[in-house]
Symmetry: C2
Subunit: 334 residues, 2 copies
């Protein structure tokens, strides 16, 4: 690019083609109101000059932004899949996506602010950590759809997985294999940890195993899982459910180092179906969320809000499903 070279504008194209600016605008938008030959001619000139519409000016004038802001966290187990789904859904609806990432050195507040200035029509937040009050304040300004997290506030839409049901599935699977002594490695104070823990407890009770309920303190990292493994090795159960996949891999590693065979001696179930859980090397049985359905729903919901369509339910809860891989099997013979 040579310096000082100005990008061509509608006016340049209009002058070159010998028509008015308004007509070029009509042609570029593909709007009705231009003759076939002129249309052809204008398009040709635009192509020759390398004209690119300026979406800023366009949006500024037309008021409608057709722009959805997405806040995602780098390193989030499945944000890649979610972005893929969101792009698809937005595309189908004729909307654009603008992304703002949360990184270890860029907090949510910054990410929100950036998108607000870009005049997005709505915000889709992937598993935000901000307190409910902050999200509510945000929702005062524009429609907000939160994914993968429960938010009890009437101004915020939520699309999330039925986390309790995810643990029901995990426990049911293990019980069906013959397990009874099933422990749960907890997610401490992380988003959704409480619901998963309660799901585990409910499921155990439902199977008449309330006396065998055993919740091990944990967290969201690999080292949390490894620590839990050390706590379990003294008196190992025959199966363990976990808060997430990362902690499950730490657990797996800790159990194996402790001399246990997985799944021969002990079965392990993760949560999230993270991309690494599919690696042949890890091959983790895990609870998967229906990413595509959830993405589509989030976009739809955002657009309904923008349009002001009345929406019956603020919160939509999607059932998860179990992906059975190699870390679960029947309990060892006594």
């Amino acid at each position: 690019m040579r310096a000082g070279e100005r990008r061509p504008t509608l006016a340049d194209v209009a002058a070159e083609a010998g028509v008015s600016v308004a007509l070029v605008s009509i042609v570029m938008r593909g709007a009705p109101g231009a003759g076939a030959t002129t249309r052809q001619q204008v398009l040709e000139v635009a192509r020759r000059l390398g004209y690119q519409p300026d979406s800023r000016a366009r949006l500024l004038r037309s008021g409608e932004s057709r722009l959805l802001g997405v806040v995602f966290a780098v390193r989030h187990p499945f944000h890649d899949d979610v972005l893929t789904g969101l792009y698809d859904a937005a595309d189908r609806a004729g909307y654009e996506l603008t992304l703002s990432a949360v990184t270890p050195r860029r907090d949510e507040r910054t990410a929100f602010a950036g998108l607000l200035q870009d005049r997005c029509a709505a915000l889709i937040l992937l598993g935000p950590l901000a307190p409910t009050a902050d999200l509510a304040a945000l929702a005062e300004r524009l429609p907000v759809v939160v994914m993968f997290r429960a938010v009890r506030h009437r101004a915020v839409d939520v699309v999330r997985t039925d986390d309790a049901r995810g643990l029901h599935l995990a426990v049911d699977h293990l019980v069906a294999l013959g397990h009874r002594r099933i422990a749960h490695v907890d997610g401490a104070r992380w988003v959704a940890a409480g619901e998963r823990r309660r799901g585990y407890q409910d499921a155990m009770r439902r199977h008449g195993l309330e006396d065998l309920i055993r919740v091990i303190p944990g967290g969201s990292g690999e080292e949390d899982g490894a620590r839990a493994a050390r706590l379990l090795l003294d008196d190992p159960p025959t199966a363990v459910t976990t808060f997430n996949d990362l902690s499950a891999t730490g657990l797996l590693d800790g159990l194996r180092r402790g001399g246990l065979d997985v799944p021969g001696d002990i079965s392990v179930v993760g949560y999230d179906d993270s991309s690494f859980s599919r690696l042949a090397h890890i091959d983790l049985t895990t609870v998967a969320q229906d990413i595509d359905a959830m993405s589509t729903l989030a976009v739809t919901r955002a657009i309904e809000r923008i349009a002001g369509t009345p929406v019956a339910h603020r919160e939509t809860v999607i059932p998860p499903h179990l992906v059975v891989r190699g870390t679960t099997g029947p309990p060892p013979m006594r």
Copy 2:
């Protein structure tokens, strides 16, 4: 958000505060030219009305976009780390980032087009797959910085790792451990595969091991590594270097299933230092790129181009370093 509620503008704040629009603009930008008390007063009114500057209008008027477009690929082994680094560097330079993702169902062309319309001042592309001609065409319109890939074109800036050197490091490390029969699992037609293969071959020659050079067909996925493992099991070398970490994990798994102990019988080196390679469970010795340095450099280069500063070198090659973990060790005793 109630429908029909217009976002407050400079004019609203000005009217409410009883001053001119221009003055509010001055205050909001923190520009000199306003009295302390008025400034205070205007800020207070702006806060009360919930005023948010409209970056579109701002950029439209001021011409300067201070906006860098970043095209990244979802599922790219280390794009998360790169984004983190880029945000930091852009922030330090007073620039904003706008992201456009390439997903399995959204190609690069689409990603480029989106950013062009946003009037970015420059583009930073993370390992683009587009042919050089396309990148060159893009560079006609605005400064383009390509990361993680060599592009031989005078209009395109490149910031990449010395991939050949990465394999030198890997081979040197293995030779120092005592290995001589070292094979390389190739990356087929992927970006950088050729240079890594040549790096391997050079290093082998440098150690006088040219007769032991052995390149196994591979690819970028886990299954490619697993296939390579099957090819190697008949006559296993004592060490293997690979095109990337994903293929290395497939290889690891295949070798172990074939009855070999890693690193007892055979050592494996990956490439990329992907996040999963750090998992205790995988614990892969691998070649790491200096992400922070590269991100900073890419942003700096982009800004220099925008400013029209003459830049000496189009291409900057950063040396990688080796991260030694648990998949390499001395060769087995004979």
